[in-house]
């Protein structure tokens, strides 16, 4: 990558205010950073462990698409974490101090903080390195912690802070006010009628519905085929469902950089489900959103009176019970599958989408590597900023080669971030493929 590559913009005062984050003067940042790191080490035992146990064996380096795509040595997982480790060794680690200096310890300065900002925004929190590390170090966890620390230094990215602000104000990341959301839904009901000739409802705030479906707001902006497919599937399966007017967002950006936003997002959905008295929450296509629902919601917002299930688990149930059927011939193209990192490495969703795919497409081919070894799309952890397009293209390079090798015509990538990232970057890498969600493909094949 050239020197001109732009890194994500840092948040301005107005975005910080909205999230109750402080402005920290540059000269105060090193000291504040040390205090924050000290606090974090007390309650994040995993962070302390990861900083302690690395043997610098190097097994992670070639497994990180960020390093493979950018060729920047700081993007090796071990080197990325060393940016923190060197401060940790100097200030916090136990043992005699001469050993620490020998170990590469370094006092913290503004340059270190700038390196943190730069390189913790080139880690997609994809967790692939963790699979290969003999010590089980999960660099994604370090990145999450360090972005949180940066946020409290007044340095979250502008993109992430703006999205968290939108979520807090409107219940969706795009910042769409309720009248706009309802207008869009009404329009899609008309579209469904025109397409199928049937009255397929998209209910909002229907009390006592069995399912509260939580889409990504991008499903109501660009990925409308997938959203309409979900409405058709519920209709055909005869399931009573509803959206909530309070939250139309499954993509929980708080997970990437700001725990209070993450908790509040989860709380909002759980509360909506309780108020409507539903039996299940069903999460739409979104990788990290799913990771949050599956891994953290019960712990943080529980105990929950209902389960949170993924759309694919829900629809697979209908398929196995014979409540819906697909006509594969509607999807005759060669289709390959991109495992969203947070499904395959953090959310227990590997076989379910494959079972659905083999039921609804004619020619499914696996990619190499695949499943839990799959490479990230390069947009993971919300690296979707326009200004960082050069970085995004580099991060996507290993995935682009994997997709190219399959020769597929359709790339099924069932995650809102992947769907936003892949079309642009694959075009850059000259891979000729159409990106679709799994819902889109199921919608095409569904026998109504």
């Amino acid at each position: 990558m050239s020197e001109q590559v732009r890194i994500p913009y840092v948040a301005r005062e107005k975005e910080l205010k909205d999230l109750y984050l402080p402005m920290v003067a540059p000269e105060d940042r090193p000291q504040t950073a040390l205090e924050l790191l000290g606090e974090m080490l007390k309650y994040k035992r995993s962070l302390k462990l990861y900083l302690d146990v690395c043997t610098h064996c190097g097994a992670c380096a070639e497994q990180c698409h960020s390093y493979l795509g950018t060729k920047d040595p700081y993007n090796m997982p071990v080197a990325r974490v060393d940016l923190v480790r060197r401060v940790y060794k100097q200030v916090f680690a136990s043992g005699p101090s001469f050993l620490r200096t020998w170990d590469g310890a370094k006092a913290i300065d503004q340059e270190t903080i700038d390196l943190w900002y730069k390189y913790f925004h080139q880690c997609n929190q994809c967790r692939r390195c963790a699979i290969f590390c003999p010590k089980g170090i999960d660099t994604a966890e370090v990145t999450i912690a360090m972005r949180e620390l940066l946020a409290h230094l007044g340095m979250p990215s502008r993109f992430h802070a703006g999205i968290a602000k939108n979520m807090a104000k409107t219940g969706n990341n795009m910042g769409n006010p309720l009248p706009a959301v309802l207008d869009g839904i009404e329009f899609l009901e008309e579209e469904l009628k025109e397409e199928t000739g049937l009255d397929i409802p998209i209910p909002v705030d229907k009390e006592g519905a069995e399912v509260l479906f939580n889409p990504s707001s991008s499903d109501l902006y660009v990925n409308t085929d997938g959203f309409m497919a979900v409405a058709k599937i519920f209709y055909k399966a005869g399931v009573s469902w509803t959206l909530s007017s309070k939250i139309t967002e499954t993509a929980n950006f708080g997970l990437f950089f700001h725990e209070p936003s993450m908790r509040e997002h989860s709380r909002l959905l759980v509360q909506a489900g309780k108020e409507l008295g539903v039996k299940r929450l069903v999460a739409g296509e979104c990788g990290h959103g799913w990771r949050t629902w599956r891994m953290f919601t019960e712990t943080i917002n529980g105990p929950l009176p209902f389960p949170v299930v993924h759309l694919f688990e829900e629809v697979l149930g209908y398929l196995r019970d014979g409540r819906i059927k697909f006509d594969k011939s509607m999807n005759p193209e060669v289709v390959t599958y991109h495992d969203p990192c947070n499904y395959a490495r953090a959310g227990d969703l590997i076989n379910q989408p494959r079972e659905l795919l083999s039921a609804c497409v004619q020619n499914f081919v696996e990619m190499t590597p695949t499943k839990e070894l799959s490479f990230c799309c390069g947009g993971g952890s919300g690296i979707l900023m326009d200004e960082a397009m050069k970085i995004r293209e580099a991060l996507a390079q290993p995935k682009a080669e994997c997709v190219r090798s399959t020769g597929a015509e359709i790339l099924c990538a069932p995650c809102a971030i992947c769907k936003a990232q892949l079309p642009d970057v694959l075009e850059h890498h000259k891979v000729d493929v159409t990106v679709k969600g799994l819902s889109d493909l199921m919608g095409r094949a569904l026998i109504l």
Binding site: N173, M174, G175, A180, D183, V222, A251
Partner: protein
């Protein structure tokens, strides 16, 4: 990004070239914004799209969903990219003085 010079009046833009204050939009501003998007001239078709976006924005405070934009203007996505090479969100919305759609888009 540098401010937009509209006949000697400077209108502030954000780093991505969108208006900082959408109230400062007018047709002259649109012409100047179009030039930043490599659109040399605003034809009747451009205005048809811009006016739809502005009406929707006045009513709802955001851009319409892409599918609705296509349906109600009668332009498919390919046509919109022909008119505004930056596409509906980053090209057309910019020239119409709307905020940049954000999120997983």
């Amino acid at each position: 990004m540098a401010d937009l010079n509209v006949n000697g009046v400077f209108i502030p833009l954000d780093e991505d070239g969108f208006l900082e204050d959408s109230d400062l939009w007018n047709e002259e501003v649109a012409l100047a914004l179009a030039l930043t998007e490599d659109v040399e001239e605003l034809t009747e078709e451009h205005w048809h799209l811009i006016n739809y976006l502005r009406d929707y924005y006045a009513k709802f405070g955001v851009a319409p969903m892409i599918r609705k934009l296509c349906k109600e203007t009668g332009f498919n996505l390919k046509k919109i990219y022909e008119l505004f090479p930056g596409g509906p969100a980053k090209g057309a919305c910019k020239v119409a003085g709307l905020m940049k759609p954000t999120g997983c888009v």
